[in-house]
Structures are given as C-alpha cells and as structure tokens.
Amino acid sequence: DVKVTQSSRYLVKRTGEKVFLECVQDMDHENMFWYRQDPGLGLRLIYFSYDVKMKEKGDIPEGYSVSREKKERFSLILESASTNQTSMYLCASSYRTYGYTFGSGTRLTVV
C-alpha cells in the first residue's frame, strides 16, 4: 500500500513564526498536493506539484509556499503564521490524479 506520511499530527505555533509541514510518500508518485480542511469549506487546494522542483498554485496559495527538492518529499511553508491559518492540513500523492492517497493530516494551531 502507498504510504503518505506527514511528520506531525499536532502542532502549535506562535503568530509570525515560520512553519514547515513535511510530507513524504513512498511509492514514487509524480503528483503531490497540499490541502487544508476547514468546517463548512471542505478541502481546499493550496499548492500542488507534478514533478521535482515544479509547483503550481492551487485555489488558496496566499501566505504559503512549497518546496519539492526530491520526488518523495513535498513541504508546505507558512512564511509568517497567522491565526487564520489554524486548520487541518492534508497532504496527498498520486500516480494519476484519479487515485489520491492522503496522509493522516496535521492539525495546526496558531496562537
């Protein structure tokens, strides 16, 4: 089975901190995605990547950046964390877009 591992289940950070969320997949998938899940808003796409060093903006990229230096790793960076970035962050990978595999999520709280 494909495994997508997110480095932290829970994080608490202070406003203004730079925050790194890490995601690693073990099945050589080209595509990787970062979503955030908020009640009543569903899953919203922040950034995605189709290959190493490639990145594309999703629907809500403001306040975020990403890095993909290796195929298996896709990092989400909050440049200066704000309270409205408190959310559940979900990473996913896929060989083809039809078959997303999600990680377990990181619950980030910004105080």
């Binding site: 919203r44 796409l45 877009t97 078959g99 997303y100 999520g105």
Partner: protein, 111 residues
C-alpha cells in the same frame, strides 16, 4: 466559485436503512467523479468513483449515480452501518487534472 457543492452538511439515518448523499457540480467539463470518506484525525480514503460515460457504478453496499443533465451525483449506502459514520466528500476532475472537492457531509448512522 464553488464548482462542487454538497448542500447538506449533515445526515442522520438508522442502521440498516439507506443513506443518500448528494453532490452538485457546475463545471460541465468534469469527466470523473469520486467519493472519499474521512474519519476524525485520519486522512480521507477513496471509496468509489464514476466516469462521465457511465451513469451508475456499484461496489458492494456503495452505489454512485451520475445525472449529467442535472449535473448531480449521489452516493447510496445500503444497508447503512454504524461504522459508516464519517464525513463524505465528493470530488471531480477534468481529464485527470487536480481534484476539486465539495464541502463534505457528516453522516451519522444510529444503531
């Protein structure tokens, strides 16, 4: 612009009865539709999908119906079981591109 909408935030059914979850979309270019299921503190997991060339796909207790003229998708679960209690997301894509998710519906199956 919410291209995929799940208008019911929650649904409650009795064990053994049918659960019907609905999803509407606005983008007529969508050609592949999926349902994901999410338990608390876990990532979403793939449940069932349907291509736009079909109007029905069945997998055990789960059946997805697609009405292209109405731009409407539904998921039927028969019989419903308490373990089906979860948040259900519908998702759609165009030609294998990124998935667009709905807001989710919380299904509660009461024993």
């Amino acid at each position: 612009d919410q291209q995929v909408k799940q208008n019911s935030p929650s649904l409650s059914v009795q064990e053994g009865r049918i659960s019907i979850l609905n999803c509407d979309y606005t983008n007529s270019m969508f050609d592949y539709f999926l349902w994901y299921k999410k338990y608390p503190a876990e990532g979403p997991t793939f449940l069932i999908s349907i291509s736009s060339i079909k109007d029905k796909n069945e997998d055990g207790r789960f059946t997805v119906f697609l009405n292209k003229s109405a731009k409407h998708l539904s998921l039927h679960i028969v019989p419903s079981q308490p373990g089906d209690s979860a948040v259900y997301f519908c998702a759609a894509s165009v030609g294998g591109s990124r998935l667009t998710f709905g807001e989710g519906t919380q299904l509660t199956v009461n024993p």
